[in-house]
Symmetry: C2
Subunit: 501 residues, 2 copies
Amino acid sequence: VGVAEVLPLVAERLGAIRGEESERGEPVYRRLVAALRRSIEDGALPLGARLPSERRLSSALGLSRTTVQTAYRELEALGYVESRRGSGTYVCGRPEWPSQPRASAIPKHTFARRAKAAGNTFLLDLMHAASTLHRYAFETGMPDPRLMPVRAFHAIIEDLFSQRSAEWVSYSPTQGVPQLRQALTHTLLPLRGLHGVRPEEVLITTGSLQGLDLVSKLFLEPGDTVLVEEPSFPGATQIFRSFGAELVGVPVDEEGLVVDHLQEVLARVKPKLLYVQPTLQNPTGAVLSARRRARLLDVASRWRTPIVEDDAYGLLLGQDAPPALKARDEEGLVIYLGTVSKILSPGLRVGYLVADEGLVRALSHVKQLTDLHTSTVSQFLVEGWLTTADVRGHLRTCQRVYGERLRLALDCLRRHPLIEPYIEPQGGIYVFGRILTGIQAARLRVESAERGVIFAPGDAFAVAGGLQDCLRLCVGASDLAALRVGLGRLLRLVEELQTPA
Amino acid sequence: VGVAEVLPLVAERLGAIRGEESERGEPVYRRLVAALRRSIEDGALPLGARLPSERRLSSALGLSRTTVQTAYRELEALGYVESRRGSGTYVCGRPEWPSQPRASAIPKHTFARRAKAAGNTFLLDLMHAASTLHRYAFETGMPDPRLMPVRAFHAIIEDLFSQRSAEWVSYSPTQGVPQLRQALTHTLLPLRGLHGVRPEEVLITTGSLQGLDLVSKLFLEPGDTVLVEEPSFPGATQIFRSFGAELVGVPVDEEGLVVDHLQEVLARVKPKLLYVQPTLQNPTGAVLSARRRARLLDVASRWRTPIVEDDAYGLLLGQDAPPALKARDEEGLVIYLGTVSKILSPGLRVGYLVADEGLVRALSHVKQLTDLHTSTVSQFLVEGWLTTADVRGHLRTCQRVYGERLRLALDCLRRHPLIEPYIEPQGGIYVFGRILTGIQAARLRVESAERGVIFAPGDAFAVAGGLQDCLRLCVGASDLAALRVGLGRLLRLVEELQTPA
């Protein structure tokens, strides 16, 4: 290809690029680079072709010599041309990019200490299990997809399209969509005894798990102590540990957290936070009695202990559930976490936090640096449901369905006494049980997975270690027939494994 | 009310509760509490009524004395009854809850040090501004809602309803919905020069901002140094600071990050990370030249400096944009962050991170403790759009529309030289400008807000302080007419404020 042929082509392309509306504002050298790149890419300037000299091109195109020089260097850096000393600049082809990144040169020892606490993949495995097909999936704390009001969501989405144009896919306030915060104060919060909450006292979180991340970010320094129930929800304990907290477990019995024990602990240690699930505790299903609730608030008040009340399961207990701790929190020591994950949809990732306005503001400041705001479409779906659905009726259905399943599971375990409930769950979707034959849950799980039955091993819920002979069965996502067959298989396996074949 | 009348009623209610399917598994005392509560709440047991003695009720209902005693204590704790010594137990009414939480007893001095860094409300204010009506809103980095493909989303949602039942509102894997990760490797990533990326090397994040949170959680200890561009995106600098990092700024000119300066800095300090926006830097609009990209990778390789490449705006630059740094990252030193916020929808909160598989796994571990996973419906909306839309055509439209607006804004500033671009932006949606009259942006903002014109003050983007006389104008969300009027008002105001009235 002679230089003479190339010049008009480049000139024409440069003119075309100048004319493209979107390119204005770009430096001239970048337009020249673009013109030459296109000519190389479409073969007009083939492999091996020599580019015009810088001087020749600059005079032909009416550009400064520096502009052409910069453009040639840029093309070289991009890998399109190479300059040969004393000879000129030649097309050397289209650049090749590495087809896939190699292993990282970033060494693991540069990770922060907190990364170790995140090494436990319990939650990750649960999410994986939730989206994998298992015939008898008792592992994840998953509500029944058949109870998710997909048809109602459809109608809500139709409304959003017709009424809110692009609002539902646009940025929204960090604290949460105002209509949703308002709707929560009228619907779900009063059902848990939280009357008269103002929208300013509500923060929307990306699932209640994010509430724990935000609270930890606001409060925890490495070395701080956090008191938790023993056993406790591993998501919470792992998050606290990842912020460098030391955990101290307080036992749970049929009446929930043993407040006498808590008092003894508080005489010894000064915790930054106390984390509790007073209503249908995960994994035990314990419900803190009203008597103990009153005493817990007294004790917390005496020692000025902030309480994080995780009420993820409270709405599954029904009308006779004791009101949330927060409902009697006259001193503002309780940070309340709720979620729609167990009653409506876990995949929308919509939770809510209730605290006094000052704390909500401080936590919003933390949230702006965490994910800016929770998915707007998720928030509008929840708001639409809360304001149009028969919320109480839906909750009654959930309570009835899960009640039947829990009863069947407990009946199964009673009839074949190989796994004994740790305590008798008072509702919800979990049975936490101890395997009476001495077999470890980890071993049982390997064998049972082969028969399509999966569950969560008990040691994941232990705070001070142990519970290797325990397991958590979630009855939420399996119908009665699946429960009967799956639990039957599991119990037969426990039996087989105790008697040598 | 005589005891004789009450007994049959309570017995009947207890029987009814026993019969309610959902209540099985509950201890008997709780059923008795429920029966008595209902009788008090509906007035059958009115205020002042005396309950049967414990002995009498236990023999009448065939329950143990302890069960009745526990139930009475529970009712007392709930506030329904009071026991008078030697006289019996009396109904004292329905309990009253505090109607709203008081100010918190949790003192601010118990907040972690990192909470201070979150005290700057820049992002929070942006989100607030984005969801408030301003006639001339040049503040938030907001794409034009008219360019969001709402109609396409509608069709995708219809498909989700008919084909995926409840999957799109259910739990999904922490690393991201596999179909979305797959779609990204075929669509957006190759457009940025990232060919042959495998889905295992992609992590879905709740907006690219969460990518910064996750990377900080994985790497940063208090006292670590992070290098950033000066000026830089305040979201990033605030997040790094909230993890206790010290920031060192490296200047940006027309060719992007000044790599010579970077080299000098690296000879003095050993940073944990280098954070850059090589393509359409926020706020300046600078594009790192290919020459400097190659040198930057050489320098990073020599000093083993991990690079966080934030490519939030790369897809707005058009086909002649230099490929992402990550495209030439042969050593795996680059962690790439992308997002659909600027091209599709910011409210879905869907970003993506590309790194080698080991790092993606480590970051997934961190994400499980942050929000479990990104909204499933948001992910399916993006996946649906990527696999059905004319992605390139849509991007060309965005580039054309924003190009026109940017050009108009720059023309305005050229014609009334009161605000001068910090550097000439090469595309995108921002003009970062210096006010030449000496007036501070903070003061100008107060006055201009009264005339309906808002913008982001420049000092928010400063790393080492200064830039009080600068401002960032976002042209993304305003049409040409609004830009013309809004900028005209702003420039007139700058003029007025320099000449005393």
